[in-house]
Each structure stands twice: as C-alpha cells, then as structure tokens.
Amino acid sequence: MNKPTEVQAEFSFSGQLQAQFQHIVERYPTRESALMPSLWLIQEEYGYVPPLAVDWLVENLGVSHARVWELLSFYTMFRSEPQAKYVLQVCHNISCHLMGARSIIAHLEKRLGIRLGEKTPDGKFALEGAECLGACGHGPVMQLGKHFYEYLTTEKVDQILESLKKDIVPRADTDRELEE
C-alpha cells in the first residue's frame, strides 16, 4: 500500500484540492457520481489525468480501475496523457464548414507546420479538429482551454498565434468578465 505516497510525489494533492474533492463527495449522492467532477478537478489542476491519480481515485472513491478508464476513454475531453501547452481545437462541423473552417484549419497547419491531429516538436501547440462546439452563428470557431475564439479569419488566427508564441493568451470572444 505505498501508492498514496507515490501519488503525492507525483502531483502533491494540495490541501485546497483535497478540500474541493471532499466538497464534491459531500454534494454528490453517490461516490460513483462524484467521479466525473473529480476527474475534472484533477485535469484542471494538472492538464491531464495522470495514471497515479487514477489509482488515487480508485482508492478514495471506492470505484474500480475499469470504471475510471471507461470514463477517460469515452469522454473526448478527458486526457490521460500530458498535452501540448496550447491545444487549439477547430470546429469542422457543418455550420463552421459553411463559414470557411477548412481554410482556417489549412492556415493553422501551414503556420504551425503540423497536420491536424499533430503536436509541434517543442510541445507548445497541438492542432485538433472538433465536432460542433455550439457556436454555430459565430463561426468559424476555435477552442482553447475554457474559451472560444469566434468569427475567425486568417488574420485573426495570425494575431492569436503571435500572441501565444509570446505566452500571452489573447482575450477570447467568450470572455466577457471584464465587462462586468
């Protein structure tokens, strides 16, 4: 039973994270139902769900390994491997397609020197296709983290990339908090 120590060595489950985990477990009616929000808690902290975190969840929620991996593999947003620093997900469904998503993807491929589904060698950018993001009237649309960049043009994509290369995340179209 030395796994918890290993887990702590790997990602030091902070006191604050512990408290948030406890809060989830108290609010959800069953331990299994607390699994999905717990996976989000871990992923938002570490960028992905490390295998040792899976062990930790198995121990602390009393669910099976199979159950945790089932969720990790079924839900496309859960990641079980380290991700690029900026994962750009471009919607290629029908509405964005009609508004030129294909040329946005082609432009990103050219600028980043990678194909859709690949990562830049420095691990900074990944380019992925996404199914409908629910921003159809604002297309073409690209997701980065919790936010969307909308009404994309090649010029706008260039500005976003230039900024990200300097590690400045430009304000997203869905980020309206400053308006308050």
């Binding site: 959800y28 089932e70 397609h97 159809c136 997203a172």
Partner: protein
C-alpha cells in the same frame, strides 16, 4: 416588425449586466418563484405548464407538463435535470440563455423542482462551454446566498440543492438517459425505454430531464399566466421559440419569435436574407438531425411543430442551418456523417456500424471511387438503422442522409464516373478503415 414585443426569453440577451442577480431581481426576477411557493400547490404549477402548452425545446417537443405528470405522486425521492448539453450541430441558443440570463433558467428550474417535488437538481452543461460552467456556478452561488436555493426556500418549507455538472465531450449525453447515466458516473450510453426516467431514472428514482429553453420558459408562464403565454404561437405550438441561425445570412444569431411565423418572413425580416453574392439552396430547420428542406420548400413553411412535420421535417432544437447555392451537398453530408460516426456511443450495432458505413460510402463517392449501386446502398444502410436502436442517434443520421440523397440526388450521381475502372472492391466499405 417590432422585435421587442414578443420577447419572453431573450429580454436580456446581448446585455452586459443581465447575468447579475441584482439586475434580474429588478426586472421581476424570482417573482414567479415567490408566487409559486406562496400561492400555488405543486399540482397547480404542473397544471399551469400543461395548460400553457409548453413543449420540450430540446428536440422532441413533448409537452413539459405532461412529462412532469408521469412522476408517481408517492415517490420518496425525485431528481430534476436541466439539460444544457447543447451539442446538436447548428444549435447555440441554450448557451445564450445561460450566458446572458442564467437566473431565468435557475428560477425556472427551482419552480419545476417544486412542481415535481425534487430536492436535488443538476444543471448538466457540456464540457466545451468551460467559461459558461463558471458563469452559471456564480449565478447559483448568488441564488443560494439570496435564499432562493437551499433549506426552507422563502420560508415555504421547500428545500432544494442545485449542482452545476460539467460534461466532458459526448453528443450522446444530450439524450436524457445518456445524460442520467453520465451523472451516475458512467459512460453516457442511453438506456432502453421503458422504463421512462419519469418513473425510474437517476439512481432508479423518478427523474425529469428538461432542456434549458423549456425550463427558462416556466417563470413567465407562472408570473404572467397561461393566457399571457398563449397569446404567442399557435393552438398546438404555443409560446415563443429561440432559433439559432447559422450559415451565410446577413444576420446570423439567436432570435426569439412566436411559433408559427412563416419562414419567408423570418428569413427576410430577421436574418436579412443571404450575404451578397449567395443564393439560398436549402435549409436545415431544426438542427443537423432533421430532414433538409429545399429553398422552395422552406419558403412555403411556417415555423411551428405541426407545419414543419407536415412539410416532412421537424422543428427539433431550432438550430437552423442556412445552406447557400455554392455549397456541395455531398461534401456537407460527408461532414455530417463523420459527426454521427464519431458520436455514436457504440452500444447498438446498427448505429455503430451503420454510421461508419454511411460515412465511408459517401467518402468513396467523393473520391471518385463510387459506383451507381452505392446510391441504393446508402438507402439500404439507412433502412437497416432505422428503429432498431436504443436511442434516436441512428435515426438522427438517417434523416439527413436520406433527405439529402432524395432531394439532391443529381449531385451524388454526378460523382459516379461510368468509365472509371474501380477494380476489385467490396460492396460494403469494410476495407476502408482510414477515416
């Protein structure tokens, strides 16, 4: 046309401060909750929603009050879910509701929970709407602090807990049993019905799942009354509807209009027609899963449940996709078939295999490797998927596929070159694993 007159759901859309509790309260917010809790019994609330003719706005159009009525009266525990897993291609209205006016949905959810005697409510928001999860959580926190949630709400003795649950990328979780299974901590694979969730849902208890727009309509009905709501829309399609409009029109966006207005008026007066240089070719009125209408068919329909059904399509979620003359219909259906193939949860063979076959057959047509019998094969695969699965996802792929093929067949046929030697090939696209 004065667009402000008919607004029930969208009065705060586009405003910077509409999401704040103080603003919502100053504009009659939470008055309906007060009225329901102090002057009405749960049964009276259900009856009002039934009489108002409010129908589910997520896609199926089932009367909300009738659904609530299926909850057994003697149930010891009832759950209520607000479905904000908005993922139907072309649909982005629920996002507007929660972004600009989260308290209206929260108030509607509290009243709905009171009606069905639920003490735990989940708002299930698709994971891609990351910022929205935070925004709604802040609104829920505000509602708790103001005493609209929690123990003994407004001194009525009614208790309610509300949890904002973040999805993680699965179209199928928008199906109500898939959504319930997802919150239970499992893959979001739908369950067979019956039993219906209203009888046996979350953790085996009676559970009601309603779309955001449906829930957001409840406060108005309770506050202003059934007659006020029924002044909008038609006899069978009462009230207003949010339409999410995408594609190359002059003014895409979310519009609230009374049910039953002619598409033609909506298209010219609200959307401003097509952008310069484009002409209307086709319209997918209710989200990508409903049968497509040609431009001339669309120009003759009214936007309500009955008229659209009569025209051979569905109102669905109101995710209206405007297709221009320049669009390649076979390419569009390939995009859509990729989506359904990608999103099939995989538990029913006709859907798991069928969506993949449809995608691959369309793809080989576009690569110039198709033969004439492929067009019939597409129809046959569709027939082998319809009505044979647990949930409607398979049929959601079949409806656009069959209607595209029927109404735009020459575009499919033009891809088949009689002279192209195809070599040995399987009738079924089994060998084409590359996707």
């Amino acid at each position: 046309m004065n667009q402000n007159v008919d607004h029930i759901l969208s009065t705060r859309f586009g405003r910077k401060d509409g999401h704040l509790l103080s603003v919502y309260e100053s504009e009659e917010g939470y008055q309906a909750l007060r009225k329901a809790l102090t002057q009405m019994s749960p049964l009276q609330v259900t009856e009002a929603v039934k009489e108002a003719g409010l129908r589910g706005r997520g896609g199926a159009g089932f009367p909300a009050g009738v659904k609530w009525g299926f909850v057994p009266q003697d149930a010891d525990q009832v759950y209520f879910f607000v479905n904000a897993d908005e993922s139907e291609p072309g649909t982005f209205k629920d996002r507007y509701c929660l972004d600009y006016d989260p308290h209206m949905t929260i108030e509607g959810a509290i009243i709905s929970c009171y009606a069905v005697n639920a003490n735990l409510c989940f708002i299930y928001i698709r994971g891609e709407f990351g910022w929205l999860v935070d925004r709604v959580q802040r609104a829920v926190d505000e509602a708790y602090a103001a005493g609209y949630l929690g123990h003994n709400i407004l001194g009525s003795g009614f208790d309610l807990e509300m949890i904002v649950h973040k999805g993680a990328g699965a179209y199928i979780c928008g199906e109500e049993t898939g959504l319930i299974n997802s919150v239970e901590g499992r893959k979001g694979q739908p369950s067979i019905k019956p039993p219906f969730p209203a009888v046996s849902g979350f953790l085996g208890k009676p559970t009601i799942v309603n779309n955001v727009e449906t829930v957001a309509s409840v406060p108005y009905i309770i506050r202003e009354g059934v007659d006020a709501y029924r002044q909008y829309g038609t006899e069978k399609s009462a009230g207003t509807k949010l339409w999410s409009v995408s594609g190359p029109v002059k003014k895409p966006g979310v519009y609230e209009v009374p049910l039953g207005i002619p598409f033609r008026d909506f298209f010219y007066e609200y959307l401003g027609g097509m952008v310069e240089g484009e002409e209307l070719k086709a319209v997918i009125v209710g989200g990508s899963s409903v049968p497509v209408l040609t431009a001339s068919e669309a120009m003759g329909v009214n936007l309500d449940y009955e008229a659209l059904a009569q025209a051979g399509t569905m109102l669905g979620s109101g995710g209206m996709i405007i297709v221009p003359q320049s669009a390649d219909m076979v390419e569009l259906i390939q995009v859509l078939m990729h989506f359904y193939f990608d999103e099939s949860c995989g538990q029913c063979t006709p859907c798991r295999e069928g969506t993949g076959w449809l995608y691959k057959i369309v793809k080989r047509l576009r690569k110039g490797q198709g033969v004439q019998e492929d067009l019939d094969l597409l129809d046959q695969v569709c027939d082998g998927m319809s009505g044979l699965t647990i949930c409607p996802l398979a049929y959601a792929a079949v409806m656009p596929m069959k209607s595209f093929l029927e109404k735009f067949r020459p575009e499919f046929g033009a891809l088949i070159k009689e002279t192209t030697p195809v070599g040995p090939r399987s009738r079924w696209p089994m060998g084409e694993q590359e996707i």
